[in-house]
Amino acid sequence: MLLDLWTIVLVSMGVVFFLAGTVGLLRFPDALSRLHALTKADNLGLGLVVIGLLPRLTGIADGAKMIFVWLLVMLSGACLAQLVAHLIRQSGDFKP
């Protein structure tokens, strides 16, 4: 029961952060600010979903694998964010 509560709370929060990412992507005025919303809110949303799902998995290894998926997404997201940021600055794709 407590575990269910854990799942419900964390997954719901995950949804909220995905929402934050989307709203940021739509509301922020320039490309670089949108990038902030994307890299930060989304990764946290995915992380919360992952942690929320942990008690529902059958094995510890599955949980570790799931966390690894999250870390992988974070790593690639972080690197990609820098590359995109560099690109936006270079191409003048943004308004200062």
Partner: protein, 310 residues
């Protein structure tokens, strides 16, 4: 509730497809196509085709997406293409709609209960020694298709090679790619591929008993290799390389040799003797893995020298 999730994913999928087809901007269409590929993976998970989901996510989303982006960039400077006339558009809409309607009617007219070979597979899977039914079909029941498919890939590569400028034959085709060796692209190209290698081997090895297998693994490995190449940390081998050519034919030739062993041991080409079925399947997969990896990676064309010999 599942129906809701299904519908949401499918509506999104159709929307993205419409964007890919209808969008004006080619780059935007390609971006939509990548999103489409990712979403397809999800839809396949919903259809409980885990193996297919892996393949579609890896090949449909990742590799094809990268291929298309590269192509779109290089075609940017080409002369613009005249848009279709209104008449063509109207007729094309009609044809597309008619096609969709007829197929929808066919889907609704399919017999119930649906025919299936699932129980036949379940009844015979023990003879193959593997537990993943899809691997059993791919490497035992319909192994001819898999063998021919490896040949198809090889042939596609020969076709792509046959397009190379004469001046570059038999060396490295295309311009080597470069990037700042201390930049972030090089950084990720150093960090990610070893991890991808471990994941690729895992997907490959797990494929005998659970979803996964050589195609998915080969796609991952190919993507990692391409990442290394695109960051300037490695080069494609020259087409004359003995090692490369040996790797390219290792898979199909190994497959055929195992098949010939089947003639000797079971009396049927591609037959698997019950006692050694699983080791033989693994042997075939091990032979195919480098071949598929090399071909999938080399099928993504490197930048060509412009007007090298025009």
């Amino acid at each position: 509730m599942t129906a809701w999730l299904d519908s949401a994913a499918l509506i999104l999928l159709i929307g993205l497809a419409a964007w890919v087809v209808l969008g004006r901007n080619t780059f935007a269409a390609v971006a939509g196509f990548i999103a489409y590929g990712m979403l397809l993976g999800l839809v396949w998970v919903e259809l409980q085709g885990i193996d297919v989901a892996m393949t579609e996510a890896a090949i449909g989303g990742g590799l094809t997406g990268a291929l298309m982006i590269g192509a779109a960039r290089r075609l940017k400077s080409a002369a613009p293409v005249a848009p279709a006339t209104a008449g063509t558009l109207v007729i094309a809409i009609g044809v597309g709609a008619a096609m969709a309607a007829i197929l929808a009617a066919c889907v609704l007219a399919l017999p119930n209960p649906a025919p299936s070979l699932a129980s036949l597979v379940a009844g015979n899977i023990a003879a193959t020694g593997v537990q993943n039914p899809i691997t059993a079909v791919l490497l035992a029941f319909r192994s001819m298709d898999t063998l021919l498919e490896a040949v198809v890939l090889l042939l596609a590569l020969i076709a792509v090679w046959s397009l190379a400028p004469d001046a570059e034959w038999p060396g490295r085709i295309g311009v080597p790619q470069t990037a700042n060796p201390n930049g972030i692209l090089a950084y990720i190209a150093r960090v990610l591929p070893p991890i991808g290698l471990v994941i690729g081997f895992y997907i490959f090895w797990a494929g005998a008993d659970q979803p996964g297998g050589k195609f998915q693994a080969a796609t991952i490995l190919a993507a990692m290799w391409l990442l290394i190449i695109s960051a300037g940390l490695g080069k494609t081998p020259p087409v004359s390389s003995r090692w490369l050519r040996a790797g390219l034919i290792a898979g199909p030739i190994g497959f055929i040799l195992v098949g010939a062993y089947g003639v000797a041991s079971t009396g049927a080409f591609l037959g698997l003797p019950a006692a050694y079925a699983k080791p033989l399947i693994v042997t075939i997969e091990i032979a195919l893995l480098p071949t598929l990896t090399l071909i999938l990676a080399l099928l993504i064309p490197p930048p060509l020298r412009k007007r090298a010999e025009a």
